[in-house]
């Protein structure tokens, strides 16, 4: 499964909403993520992509859109 599809699947799982956000939609402004759901999303991304996100990368701006998440993962995979 491609990276974007996996990210969307994770967003649906943690937000409990069957949606497909546009790649540049703010996941915060759209109401899909709050502070705690954001934490859940990062944990699910770690599991799905077999990575460990260091604390220094736990910056909300890096996880605000699907594009930014993809960009982060490209640097890690």
């Amino acid at each position: 499964m491609e990276t974007r599809s996996k990210i969307v699947e994770i967003i649906r799982k943690v937000s409990h909403k069957d949606v497909t956000p546009a790649p540049d939609d703010s996941l915060f402004d759209s109401g899909l993520l709050d502070s705690f759901v954001l934490t859940d999303m990062v944990t699910e991304i770690e599991k799905a992509f077999s990575i460990k996100v260091p604390d220094s990368d736990l910056n909300p701006r890096k996880w605000d859109t699907i594009e930014r998440i993809e960009s982060y993962l490209e640097g890690r995979l």
Binding site: F28, S35, F36, L38, T39, V42, D55, S56, L58, N59, P60
Partner: protein
């Protein structure tokens, strides 16, 4: 290794309900409960200072321990909300207790300050004997300063807690502790000399939900135990949702996390010791009972401490 002898606390009389705060913050009482778990908090009188509250918590602690102020070798006072740059409240607290030469040190650290002071007291008790740790906060003035910010004004309350740590005897032995600081996120939770409290809530939540369970696990495992073997967790009472996440992360039932945030809100560095004092009166240490303390706050500073009941 030093010992916890006793806890103490003081809460102001005035109860500020969610209905009262909601009017000021422009939200509903229900919203406050949903995002924070807070139902009410205590507010100090306008003329009541951090020092006033610290002295009352200190006196409560010493009375319960059956000690006099003259038995103290050192006083550590934690506060992130003291009324002036210097001197901090520590020397005044000592003076108000009748002491004019006992060293008294300020720990000007919000939220995690009491945890840091307890850990330092554990290490200093060999040289100073009885050490009184006090944490006092008057957060209401800060939370309700104009312009009132909804996400901040709802959270905070006032109060003070205290803990007496001694070299030779007590109700629980301190088995170990760990302290950490990382200034990378210093701008995400600040209170400037002039101006309002500023908080990047998303960043705070992301960091605390990782760092706090990690350091709790570290301290517990370093002493040969697993988190599930800890009978009670006494944490900084920041937000009930944070406590829930820490419990989930450690895979420990949430009912082992003592919580009074619904009644007192977030009293910053005082909250952990107020929780400990209440827990101690309701339950208390029994031989072998393990209690883990944890704090996280502006800086970011965070840490944990493990104590085991001896009687």
């Amino acid at each position: 290794m030093a010992f916890i002898q006793e806890f103490g606390c003081y809460l102001p009389e005035h109860i500020a309900t969610n209905e009262e705060i909601a009017t000021l913050a422009g939200c509903t009482p229900e919203w406050i409960v949903n995002v924070s778990g807070i139902i009410e908090r205590r507010f100090a009188r306008p003329d009541e200072t951090v020092t006033d509250m610290a002295v009352l918590a200190a006196e409560d602690c010493l009375a319960r321990a059956g000690l006099a102020p003259s038995d103290l070798g050192l006083i550590l006072v934690s506060s992130g909300s003291s009324e002036r740059r210097f001197p901090g409240p520590a020397a005044q607290v000592a003076r108000r207790m009748g002491l004019d030469s006992t060293p008294a040190i300020d720990v000007p650290m919000a939220s995690a300050g009491s945890l840091f002071a307890m850990s330092l007291a554990d290490r200093l008790a060999r040289d100073f004997g009885n050490i009184l740790v006090v944490a006092a906060e008057k957060m209401s003035t800060i939370a309700l300063s104009h312009p009132v910010e909804r996400g901040i004004s709802i959270l905070f309350g006032d109060g003070a807690g205290a803990c007496l740590i001694s070299r030779d005897r007590g109700i629980a032995s301190i088995e170990g502790s760990a302290l950490y600081s990382d200034g990378s996120f210093a701008e995400d939770l600040t209170l400037p000399l002039e101006g309002c409290l500023s908080m990047n809530g998303r960043s705070v939540i992301m960091q605390v939900t990782r760092k706090l369970p990690r350091v709790l696990r570290e301290v517990v495992e370093a002493n040969g135990h697993s988190p599930i073997e800890v009978e009670v967790f006494l944490l900084h009472q920041a937000n009930s949702n944070v406590i829930t996440r820490v419990a989930q992360s450690l895979e420990v039932p949430e009912d082992r996390f003592y919580s009074n945030i619904a009644r007192y809100g977030n009293t910053s560095s005082a909250s952990m010791l107020i929780a400990a004092a209440e827990w101690s009166r309701q339950h208390g240490f029994t031989p072998g009972l393990r209690a883990a303390f944890g704090g996280f706050g502006a800086g970011f500073h965070w840490g944990a401490l493990l104590a085991v009941g001896v009687r």
